[in-house]
């Protein structure tokens, strides 16, 4: 798969130059690489926010690389669950409305939206905060709302772009606990990170360099976020 950006007349910036990979259903894969290695471009293409210049990409047997803009929007709504570094919640809307936002753009039956929204909030442990606006929630809680939103339409894959980048390590681990739990239930997860420690929570790490895959490694000693959290010093100790 190739992605070349055309800047002006003759300037071509190749972001991806021949990336070829398969992610199996139910896998937990991390993508690592320095900035400029093409990991964001790869994520955007997998997430149907962008399309490759050359090559094809298939999600659950459907080729998305030649789809129209509105077909891509449909796939994003039904098959992809995004988790962003900066949460990307609507500031005006409360947690439940944010979680229900994907329903507006799909054909989810109206009568069941609220129930489903509360269910996914429950699964991230924030059912009691459903009426809170994002500015009334901590960073970790915001990211959990974002995870609930990603889960709302029961997607084929969750794409997490630096999900722990903007939050403290304790909340970050709580996020990883959630992702690992989802993965155990069978959810396919693709997580971009530059943090080796976070990447080692996945089963496999794909290293990108200059738009190419430099190395694919199996994680030998896979980290369990629940165990890692226990190792962290207690909160009282930090404040002392």
């Amino acid at each position: 798969m190739f992605k070349i950006y055309f800047l002006g007349k003759d300037v071509q910036v190749p972001a991806l130059r021949g990336v070829s990979l398969t992610v199996k259903r139910g896998a937990f894969t991390a993508i690592m690489g320095p900035s400029g290695s093409g990991k964001s471009t790869l994520m955007n293409i997998i997430g149907c926010l962008d399309q490759p210049t050359k090559g094809t990409i298939t999600i659950e047997g459907i080729e998305t690389s030649r789809m129209s803009r509105s077909e891509l929007a449909y796939v994003r709504n039904k098959k992809i669950g995004f988790i962003f570094q900066s949460f990307n919640l609507l500031a005006r809307a409360n947690a439940l409305s944010n979680v229900m936002l994907p329903f507006v753009y799909g054909d989810y039956p109206k009568a069941k939206r609220r129930e489903r929204g509360m269910d996914v909030l429950e699964s991230v442990g924030l059912a009691d905060r459903w009426s809170h606006k994002p500015n009334e929630l901590s960073g970790g809680q915001k990211q959990r709302v974002a995870i609930a939103r990603a889960l709302a339409n029961n997607p084929a894959i969750i794409l997490a772009d630096e999900p722990t980048g903007n939050i403290d390590s304790r909340s970050g681990l709580e996020i990883m606990i959630l992702l690992q739990a989802l993965n155990r239930e069978g959810m396919t997860i693709l997580c971009v990170t530059h943090d080796r420690f976070i990447a080692e929570h996945a089963e496999m790490i794909i290293n990108l360099l200059d738009g190419k895959i430099s190395r694919i490694e199996e994680v030998k000693e896979r980290k369990d976020a629940r165990e890692e959290l226990k190792k962290l010093p207690k909160e009282e100790e930090i404040t002392q």
């Binding site: 955007n44 997430g47 926010l49 962008d50 803009r69 509105s70 929007a73 449909y74 994003r76 709504n77 039904k78 995004f82 962003f84 990307n88 919640l89 609507l90 005006r92 809307a93 936002l101 994907p102 507006v104 753009y105 799909g106 939103r149 339409n153």
Partner: protein, 399 residues
């Protein structure tokens, strides 16, 4: 996403920025008020004047001295050659059972006891004036033929004159002073209302002969001619012209019917209405540009939100609809608020000026609503289209 959902989303966005939404709306509100009120007032004045002119009698025509309204070359200032003899000649020679009623007008001060009243229209008439003008006496009686022939100092007064000089007491039989001469009041005319800005009831009628003598004039202001049958009007008018041409030249008089006066007026007033409407419409266009301005700012400001919505599966069209709905809601609400304010304004106006009757024209309302919705759509489309076409990656990256 259906229409209701997109309305909900738009209303939510408008609510979250109340002041801005209000100010944007204000442009439309003012535009709609301008259009509806100005057009309504223009139409109201028009129907009022049309009513007054028609009230003069549809089977009435007039002979004016000079050549009025004949375009370039007409000489309004030439000497008035219309004399009482011409009226007599018409009376003798006219067919169609017409009633010929010559009139002289003069403005003078009148007085009753210690109450005096300046600048009152004194109208010298013949005995058939009441019949020809279809204007009856309410109290007492109109002047008789003998009063005219004998140059008697008698008068019939209008309702407004009665109110200013006599308040509620009965004026019949009393003496009033017109231009320093004592006149006996014979009767009071029924109310006839306004003609343009002229109060027809603010008039004193005296015998034509007496008027010519005390004011020292020997010509006529105009001659009213009443035809019993409307169908005879064109022929009677032709005949009048012919008879007058025996002793007067073509430039010395003009024969004009109410219909002609009316159609000339209607022409001017339609032109005025359209002009007023067009000027007011400019303010609506300015309001529309305000919407476009704010929508463009709003799209830029909410780039991130657009990115989020797109990432969650919003199609270009759904984003476009959301912003377009916002623009249409602003302009439609502006239109409705504007119309409500118009009703309030008219209500207040008619409360303080009971004679001022303006009915809000349904046409103006329809045009204003359609126009403001059109403005919202027209000026909302471009920003909304821009919002819809935003690249989701760029939009998400926007801070």
């Amino acid at each position: 996403m259906n229409l209701w959902e997109s309305t909900e989303v738009s209303l939510d966005a408008l609510r979250s920025n109340k002041l801005r939404s209000f100010l944007t709306m204000l442009g439309v509100v003012i535009g709609v008020i301008a259009v509806v009120l100005l057009v309504s007032i223009a139409l109201g004045v028009r129907s009022q004047i049309t009513g007054t002119i028609e009230g003069l009698g549809s089977n009435l025509y007039m002979v004016f001295p000079g050549s009025i309204g004949r375009g370039v070359g007409s000489n309004r200032l030439s000497a008035n050659k219309l004399k009482i003899e011409h009226a007599y000649e018409l009376m003798q020679k006219s067919g169609y059972n017409v009633a010929i009623s010559p009139v002289v007008n003069k403005v003078s001060t009148i007085r009753y006891g210690k109450t005096s009243k300046g600048a009152t229209l004194i109208t010298g008439v013949m005995a058939n004036f009441s019949l020809a003008r279809n204007w009856r006496v309410q109290e007492g009686s109109f002047m008789k033929k003998e009063d005219i022939e004998a140059y008697r100092k008698v008068c019939v007064i209008g309702q407004s004159v009665k109110h200013s000089l006599f308040k509620n007491s009965n004026p019949v039989g009393r003496e009033i002073f017109v231009a320093g001469k004592s006149f006996k009041v014979m009767g009071v005319m029924e109310s006839k209302g306004q003609l343009f800005d002229l109060d027809l009831d603010d008039q004193v009628f005296i015998p034509l002969t007496t008027a010519q003598r005390i004011f020292g004039i020997n010509n006529l202001s105009y001659i009213f001619i009443h035809t019993p049958r409307v169908e005879d009007m064109p022929l009677a008018m032709e005949q009048t012209k012919k008879i007058l041409l025996h002793s007067l030249s073509d430039d010395d008089f003009t024969v004009k019917s109410q219909g002609e006066t009316l159609s000339a007026f209607l022409q001017i007033s339609s032109l005025l209405t359209i002009m007023l409407g067009a000027i007011a419409a400019i303010s609506l266009v300015v309001g529309g540009i305000g919407i476009m301005n704010i929508m463009t700012v709003s799209v830029t400001e909410r780039t991130k939100e657009i990115g989020i919505r797109k990432a969650l599966g919003a199609r270009d069209g759904e984003i476009l609809t959301q912003f377009l709905t916002e623009a249409v809601i602003i302009s439609l609400m502006g239109g409705i608020v504007g119309i409500l304010i118009c009703y309030l304004a008219v209500f207040l106006l008619s409360a303080f000026y009971p004679t001022f009757t303006v009915t809000i024209s349904l046409l103006a309302i329809t045009v204003a609503i359609l126009f403001s919705t059109f403005m919202g759509t027209f000026f909302g489309v471009y920003p909304a289209y821009k919002a819809g076409r935003l690249d989701p990656i760029e939009a998400l990256r926007y801070e």
